[in-house]
């Protein structure tokens, strides 16, 4: 039984690594990873342009749907036909900055989730061992506690698996924004 349960544990936890996801950790995304247009001219601090900064912040939250964010970006570009190169440059720089800030927060939360999972795995394994050692003499309370710990671990594991996809989804959205800006130049 112990062997079976240990098989359920993902290798990153067993290896006691800090990063709990199967996807290797990419701490940040650079302009070079997503930008396929001509070099962006230096355009100063993107936060100085209040409306532009508000848009960048609004469409960079983890909750923003990529299509909706992209539609807002296109509407903004439509409303700013002057100084197009500078606008595009500021938008792209701002979107990279905000994406990386959001990513960093999510990465930290994922690491915390991973730590918690390690704790849950320890508890579940210990209770499983106790139950196995007790054999037929195991009382109902121990059996219930072991089962509950195992269920809690597995449920948290599926949440973690879902959460591990979030950095990739943020990068996917950033890639979509980058394409829109490339086409807007």
């Amino acid at each position: 039984m112990k062997g079976l349960f240990l098989m359920l544990l993902p290798m990153p936890l067993l290896a006691a690594e800090e990063w709990p996801c199967m996807q290797p950790l990419v701490p940040s995304v650079s302009l070079e990873m997503v930008w396929n247009g001509p070099p962006l001219a230096p355009a100063g601090d993107w936060r100085e342009d209040r409306d532009l900064a508000d848009l960048v912040t609004a469409i960079s939250t983890p909750e923003t749907d990529a299509e909706e964010g992209n539609a807002k970006l296109m509407r903004f570009l439509q409303s700013r036909k002057q100084n197009r190169a500078r606008t595009v440059s500021r938008l792209m720089t701002g979107l990279i900055d905000e994406n990386n800030a959001t990513r960093a927060r999510i990465v930290e939360r994922l690491k915390m989730l991973g730590e918690r999972q390690k704790g849950l795995a320890d508890v579940a394994t210990r209770l499983n061992d106790e139950r196995d050692r007790a054999g037929s003499a195991a009382d109902q309370e121990l059996i219930d506690r072991a089962n509950f710990a195992q269920r809690t671990y597995l449920s948290a594991q599926s949440t973690l698996r879902y959460a591990c996809d979030i950095p990739g989804r943020l990068d996917q959205r950033l890639g979509m924004y980058a394409k829109t800006l490339e086409n807007a130049r």
Partner: protein, 319 residues
């Protein structure tokens, strides 16, 4: 007079109607996207088993074998009717596989139980199992069919298996999380990519030792984003191409000197690669941007990128 033109016209029609097609497995879309290899227009999308990843063409090119990882089976897609035939057994969680040159044996990596399953296609059953390292992943059969190479993600090794005895005869240590193994067409070398290590180990096929390690560096791209995954090598062994994951680049390598000569920007999280039959085109699946890039091999330029399904993974080209 009319008949004089009829035969060539029919020939041309037949040729045009049987152009190359690109087949892409969509890991989250649970489907295969079929595209025209010249225009990259989607011809159709076929629903298959859950989490399709590794795909390989049958020897006659008329069927596509598909690792349906979450259904623990190999789906078989008839490429004339685009109907699914009876599936083949695979062992648990098949991720990738390789077809033996005999056309009848598939070597399947079973990620969950540290085994390689040998599937007899005609007999429709598993005829053998080979114990390998933890989380087997990349699979490759030597061109003469005598050697099987399997990589194990956690053990960080390329295991060389004698196909007559099905025993592991050598374990070659490579960098972290080896993903893909590729033999050169002459059987002299095996190239093994390491996702976390971000390198490709070139292993001599006879001595089974690493003779060169290829590293990558893309200006402005964090090192952690350079994750080596899919590999293809031209038959003349002059060029190698390596998909570099979230760096969104395909590296071009002089396969004689092992020097990286160029990085091509494709879509996001480029994963697997496939040539067309004359190696004039190279196709790359981009798992995060959900698209497929086509590279002109002579010009070494990305000529087109088109959307496919959700999380494209594997790619093959049907002649």
């Amino acid at each position: 007079m009319r008949d004089r033109w009829l035969v060539p016209a029919l020939f041309l029609f037949a040729f045009a109607a049987h152009g190359e097609t690109v087949l892409v497995s969509n890991e989250k879309g649970n489907s295969i996207t079929v595209l025209d290899a010249d225009t990259l227009k989607i011809i159709r999308t076929v629903a298959v088993g859950q989490r399709p990843r590794g795909i390989v063409l049958s020897k006659d090119g008329r069927q596509l074998y598909i690792c349906a990882s979450d259904d623990d089976r190999i789906d078989v897609l008839d490429l004339d009717s685009f109907k699914l035939l009876d599936p083949l057994p695979s062992g648990p969680d098949p991720e990738t596989f390789a077809l033996h040159p005999d056309g009848n044996h598939l070597f399947v990596s079973n990620e969950d139980n540290s085994l390689v399953s040998i599937v007899d296609i005609a007999a429709r059953r598993i005829v053998g199992e080979i114990s390998v390292g933890v989380e087997p992943e990349g699979m490759a059969v030597s061109p003469d069919g005598n050697w099987i190479v399997n990589t194990s993600e956690t053990t960080n090794m390329a295991h060389f298996v004698d196909n007559r005895t099905h025993q592991v005869v050598a374990n070659v240590l490579v960098d972290a999380r080896p993903r893909h193994a590729e033999w050169t067409a002459d059987g002299a070398q095996v190239w093994v990519s390491s996702e976390i290590g971000g390198t490709v180990s070139v292993i001599d096929g006879a001595s089974r030792t690493v003779i060169h390690k290829i590293s990558f560096a893309v200006p402005g791209v964090p090192k952690q984003a350079i994750q080596a995954v899919g590999i293809v090598l031209t038959k003349d062994r002059k060029l190698g191409f390596v998909a570099l994951g979230p760096s969104n680049r395909v590296a071009v390598i002089d396969a004689r000197t092992f020097e990286v000569t160029k990085y091509l920007l494709v879509g996001q999280r480029v994963w697997n690669l496939a040539f067309n039959h004359d190696e004039s085109k190279l196709f790359a699946t981009n798992g995060i941007s959900n698209d497929l890039s086509m590279i002109d091999v002579k010009d070494l330029k990305v000529v087109k990128t088109v959307p496919v399904g959700n999380q494209p993974w594997g790619v093959v080209v049907r002649p």
